[in-house]
Each structure stands twice: as structure tokens, then as C-alpha cells.
Subunit: 159 residues, 2 copies
DNA sequence: TATTGTTATACTCTATAACTATA
DNA sequence: TATAGTTATAGAGTATAACAATA
């Protein structure tokens, strides 16, 4: 891919990363890291991280959601979700109620406290998100979202 | 941000993530995870990860680079770089040579083995990268790269 | 004093596999 | 047998703080 534009953040004096800049993966990694650090800070007042915030958000939108469905929605292995739910339940932000029709399953619900925390966290997350994409014009933003979705969709892990 | 297009990968039956889809951060996280998993697989034959590959690449482009500069280039804390360099040195892919003009510093160089491994890994990484952005038209790719760079550049952590 | 490399710690995320109880 | 939740383990990434040697 010759002639790709120089879009990267400057490196320390005299250091070049031309070969790396040629990789979209590298740009994605750097942008993701920067985004994550900022979003972490924005969610810190609520003791939430990207993961726990997304979990609360999905449960809020889908009351009665099952852990396995939530794991799919978060793109997390079921096993790795348990600890997250344990922590949220210990903080009394969610309830895990046994599913009446399937003895194996649970249904997830936000508690009142969970609803309250999510409402405030959502404001902070949206504010930070808007701040992040503030520098993009609407067309660029739409293209970015579409490109990210296509990349995820066509990844072999999700095929 | 009303009317933002539905760009996300479908969730399990009946589950919605409208509120999350509204966050660019969430799209970035999902796309990044998918990309990373694929790139990991592509680099696995060379026993490299995104991090170690990028380290070799930067050292290759900047012979004599110092660890602190490399840490900046990789957006990694100096302390967290030590183990990475230890591993690469143990595999005889890099040399850490004391800096002649500064007793505190080191200079990093690829060994012959490092050059050979990087050359092959680079091919695999570029092939995988191309595969990933294959679904994007050139305009979308350029916009994506530009958007990622702007996002990183304007993040508070790098301001 | 400030910087370089280093060590140490702790937490998050990811990957993998196996276990149990239900279906 | 298959699935849901769980447990366990290991490795990678990140954040933070401190330290000795050198500038």
C-alpha cells in the first residue's frame, strides 16, 4: 500500500515508524489504548471500567438477560464473565435470579442502585465519547463506525 | 447523536445494544479485540505478539534506539518494557549494548536472527492486515486511519 | 535534581480447559 | 449428549511506585 498518508502521532525526536504506520492494526492499537485510558478515567468516579459499564448497559437494555447471552454481547468468554458479575452483585448493582423455566440458567437484572449508577455513568461515558470524536466531522465518524463494524464482522474469530 | 447508523455485528436473538452502539468506544473495543485475535494468530508461527512485533519493527527502523525511546514509540511504560526486551534478548533476537556516551543508557539492535524473524513476520503481519481491511474501499480506509490518528492525538493521555 | 534502566506489585483482560447440575 | 454456570490456571497488558547508577 504505497503512498498511504502520514497520519500518526509524532514519535520522539528522530525516531521513525514508517513500517509500522503501514499497518492498520498498529493504528488501531494505539488509538484504542488512548481511548481506553480516557474512558477509564471518565468511569473511575463510578468504580466502573469499560467492561463493567458495558455489562450494566446491556443488562439495563435487556432485563432478564442470561449470563451466556451477556457474554456473547460483550464478546467475552463465559468463564471470564463470572468474576465480573460476582463483583457487580457484591456491590449490589445487579441481581442474579434463577430462571424459573430452566434450572441451569439465571436471569440478570439491575438493582435500584444499579439503575442509579448506570444513569450517571452513562452521562460521563457519553460525554467522554463525544469529546473523543469531537475532532471528526460527521462523515468521518460514520465511516469510522462502519469500518470498525466491517472489520469486526469479517474477523475470523467471529466468522 | 440521533440517527447514527446501525453498524454493529448482530447480537444473540432478541438482545439489543442500542445504547452501547451509540458509543464509539464500544465499537473500537470490539473491533480491536477481533483484530488482535487475528493478528495474534498470524504472528504465532514466529512466537511474536503485536507488542514484540512492533518492538522489533521499531528497533529495525531505528538501530541504536534506547529503551526509553522505544517505550514512547510503543506507548508502553518503561517498566513494562523491560520484560519484553528480556524475552527478545533471551531469544537472541536483539542485542542490548551499553551506550558509550551515556553510562545510564543502552542501545538496541537487531541480531541477525532478529532481522530474519522480523522479515518473515512482517510478511505475515502485512498479509493479515491487508486481509482485515480488504472489506474497506480506499476512501474508507484512508478515513479510518485519519480518524484513528486524530483520536489518539487528541486523547488526554497523550496531550 | 533529573533521567535510565530496573524491580516489584497489583489488577484487568484474554484463552483454555475441565467440572457440576441441569436439560 | 449438550448446555449453563462455574472454577481454575496461565499469560499478556497496564498502572503505579520505588530503587540504584549515572548525568
Amino acid at each position: 500500500m504505497p503512498g498511504r498518508a502520514r497520519t500518526h502521532v509524532p514519535l520522539p525526536e528522530g525516531i521513525t515508524d514508517a513500517a509500522l504506520r503501514d499497518l492498520v492494526s498498529y493504528s488501531m492499537k494505539r488509538a484504542f489504548n488512548a481511548m481506553q485510558a480516557d474512558m477509564l478515567r471518565a468511569l473511575a468516579p463510578f468504580d466502573l471500567r469499560l467492561m463493567t459499564f458495558a455489562a450494566l448497559s446491556l443488562i439495563s437494555e435487556n432485563p432478564g438477560l442470561r449470563p451466556s447471552q451477556l457474554a456473547d454481547g460483550l464478546a467475552v468468554e463465559r468463564g471470564n464473565l463470572v468474576g465480573i458479575l460476582d463483583a457487580l452483585a457484591a456491590r449490589n448493582l445487579i441481581d442474579r435470579i434463577p430462571c424459573p423455566v430452566d434450572g441451569r440458567a439465571q436471569t440478570l437484572h439491575l438493582t435500584e442502585a444499579g439503575v442509579a449508577v448506570l444513569a450517571r455513568a452513562r452521562q460521563a461515558a457519553r460525554a467522554q465519547d463525544s469529546r473523543m470524536v469531537d475532532v471528526l466531522d460527521p462523515d468521518a465518524l460514520a465511516t469510522l463506525l462502519s469500518a470498525l463494524a466491517k472489520i469486526e464482522e469479517h474477523a475470523r474469530t467471529r466468522a
